[in-house]
Amino acid sequence: MMRRNVFAILAGAVALAMFMGCSLVSQTESVPPKHPEELAAMRADCRECHEDVSTGALKPYASFRHSLVFIKQHSMYASQGQNLCASCHAPSFCQTCHVRKDELKPSTKMGDRPDRVLQHRGDYIVLHQIDGRLDPGSCFRCHGNKNDTRCQACHR
């Protein structure tokens, strides 16, 4: 049954690709797969070079200035145009945090980057009891059906 579903999906996808590929695709230039210039490791501000609207992401470059506001709302922008993220970040960048299972928290992997906004600094195993009670929805996004290797020690 599952295999039949997957084949149906694949067939539909290929049909859609052929259908869309003919002439229905917008002629607006896509986001380049890789930013043409090397970027500094600090927080990005597209406004240093760009003033207009990104043709690929269809939003003003100003929206993507990596302020604290953007960082905390990044999922909204990524969900409407993940390609723009991948233009500057490596495709695996998202999976620093968004993974099926990982044993090292991002702040351990990047202990040399205190400037980065990273989840769960300190001995968060202790603090998660409080944050989890108050706002479990914020935990659910990443730990609801994956990324729970460390949870397994206590939650069974």
Binding site: M2, N5, V6, I9, G12, L16, A17, M20, L24, V25, S26, T28, S30, P33, M42, V53, G56, L58, K59, A62, L68, V69, F70, Q73, S75, M76, S79, Q80, Q82, N83, A90, P91, S92, V99, R100, D102, E103, L104, K109, G111, D112, P114, D115, G122, I125, V126, L127, I130, R133, L134, D135, P136, G137, N145, K146, D148, T149, C151, Q152, H155
Partner: protein, 436 residues
């Protein structure tokens, strides 16, 4: 039994094979299409720490981790690429688990990026976000936009999940998003997602809406809402008004609401299920975030988050936080300090958090210090505060190779006094082969 350690997870083996194939790809392709831009990134971490195990004995752990990512772009001078990401662990001292090793294939997929219309195709294992869907999947993803602004994406395959409940992970996942976008003004989308599986007795079937509107310069309204078809209820909604009236000011205010039984219906983690949580509870959250560049390099950040529950058990709470960041040394270094205070109906949910950090990069060296403390209103395991200090030193040995090490000191309700060490090797290689 030691031989078992030599066994490698099949998924990891597949991943390593993919990486090897990726690197050999330019050589395997016919001569006219040997072009490829290959980047290889390796992060190796060796941790060392001591833990008291059941029975009171001390054990020393030294897990060695390798995180490998590789990207081959512009394959055959076409907008075709292959991306790989995976990690593996080998315990060099006492075993951190029963096997003494672990690993995961994070992603391995081909991607075609059409030069126009942001049309794309992905095939393999990948993480994607599309409207209200954010999944890791073994399958296919297609997306394109038409000249009139309407667009469509479809995806399907097998979900890549984990479960620590008795519920199995999903068997198959598929869906799509219909959207309309007008550049610089608005994007609206409707997402459908179906995951076949035994989630609380039902499949996971969600319909979501996403919205981004820019009614004027410096004003953005965005929102997302998910309707759970299986429970016939709105599971979650979140709306944000973002204002950037001046180039140095970024302000967002928002509202979020979710219902436990509808949002957590598909959870594979017991912490989100009864009896850990009250399934009839609902949370309403009002929040604000601000980022102001008060002077060149000096940024003031702040936020407020008020959480209200329908059920009296967890109680309501408000988190207020503020911080300063200062960039110096041509932006290569940063220093910062921050404070957060959580006040709540119940004393057990109240705490304060203070943090200070700084980096220093003289020549090829980089040093950093990060100190964090938390003060709990009520004792946790008889302790009312926690401290963690991380000191790091790194050396850029070569343009593509950096070595660094961290020492972490922790005192918390879990640790009377804990020291942990980490050695890190970061390798970043970029190669261009063939081409015109």
């Amino acid at each position: 039994m030691r031989d078992a350690r030599l066994g490698v997870d099949p998924r990891l083996s597949m991943g390593l094979c993919c990486a090897a194939l990726l690197l050999l790809l330019p050589a395997l392709l016919p001569a006219p299409c040997q072009a490829a831009d290959i980047t290889l990134s390796s992060r190796t971490y060796l941790l060392y720490y001591e833990r008291e195990v059941t029975g009171g004995a001390d054990k020393n752990f030294a897990p060695l981790y390798e995180y490998l990512s590789a990207d081959a772009r512009n394959l055959g001078d076409k907008p075709l690429s292959f991306h790989f990401y995976g990690w593996g662990r080998l315990d060099l001292s006492d075993d951190t688990d029963d096997d003494g090793h672990s690993g995961e294939l994070g992603s391995a997929y081909f991607q075609y990026l059409h030069p126009t219309g942001n049309a794309e195709m992905r095939l393999g294992r990948f993480f994607f976000t599309e409207g209200t869907a954010a999944e890791i999947m073994d399958g296919i993803f297609l997306k394109a936009r038409t000249p009139v602004g309407f667009g469509l994406s479809v995806f399907g395959g097998v979900p890549v999940e984990r479960t620590i409940t008795s519920t199995d992970t999903g068997d198959s996942i598929y869906g799509g998003r219909l959207f309309f976008a007008r550049p610089g003004f608005a994007e609206l989308g409707v997402t459908y997602l179906m995951e076949k599986g035994d989630f609380r007795g039902d499949d996971r079937e969600m319909v979501g809406g996403d919205l981004w509107v820019r009614p004027g310069t410096g004003v953005e309204i965005s929102g997302r809402a998910s309707y759970n078809v299986s429970t016939s209820a709105l599971a979650q909604q979140r709306y944000v008004l973002r204002l950037t009236p001046f180039s140095r000011l970024d302000l967002a205010v928002g509202y979020e609401e979710y219902k436990y039984k509808d949002l957590f219906q598909t959870a594979l983690h017991p912490a989100f299920l009864s009896p850990s949580v009250d399934p009839n509870d609902e949370a309403q959250i009002v929040f604000a975030i601000v980022d102001i560049e008060v002077a060149s390099g000096l940024t003031l950040e702040g936020g407020v988050k008020n959480i209200r529950h329908d059920a009296s058990d967890p109680g309501d709470a408000t988190r207020v936080e503020a911080g300063l960041r200062y960039a110096y040394n041509d932006g290569k270094d940063l220093g910062g300090l921050s404070a957060a205070i959580v006040s709540a109906d119940r004393a057990e949910n109240e705490y304060q958090e203070y943090r200070v950090f700084a980096t220093c990069s003289p020549g090829p060296w980089r040093f950093s210090l990060d100190a964090l403390t938390q003060r709990y209103k009520e004792q946790i395991s008889g302790i009312k505060d926690a401290y963690q200090v991380v000191g790091s030193a790194g050396w850029q040995v070569l343009p593509y190779l950096k070595l660094s090490g961290d020492v972490t000191y922790t005192r918390s309700p879990r640790f009377t006094e804990d020291y942990a060490g980490l050695v890190r090797a970061s390798l970043d290689l970029g190669i261009t082969t063939g081409g015109k």
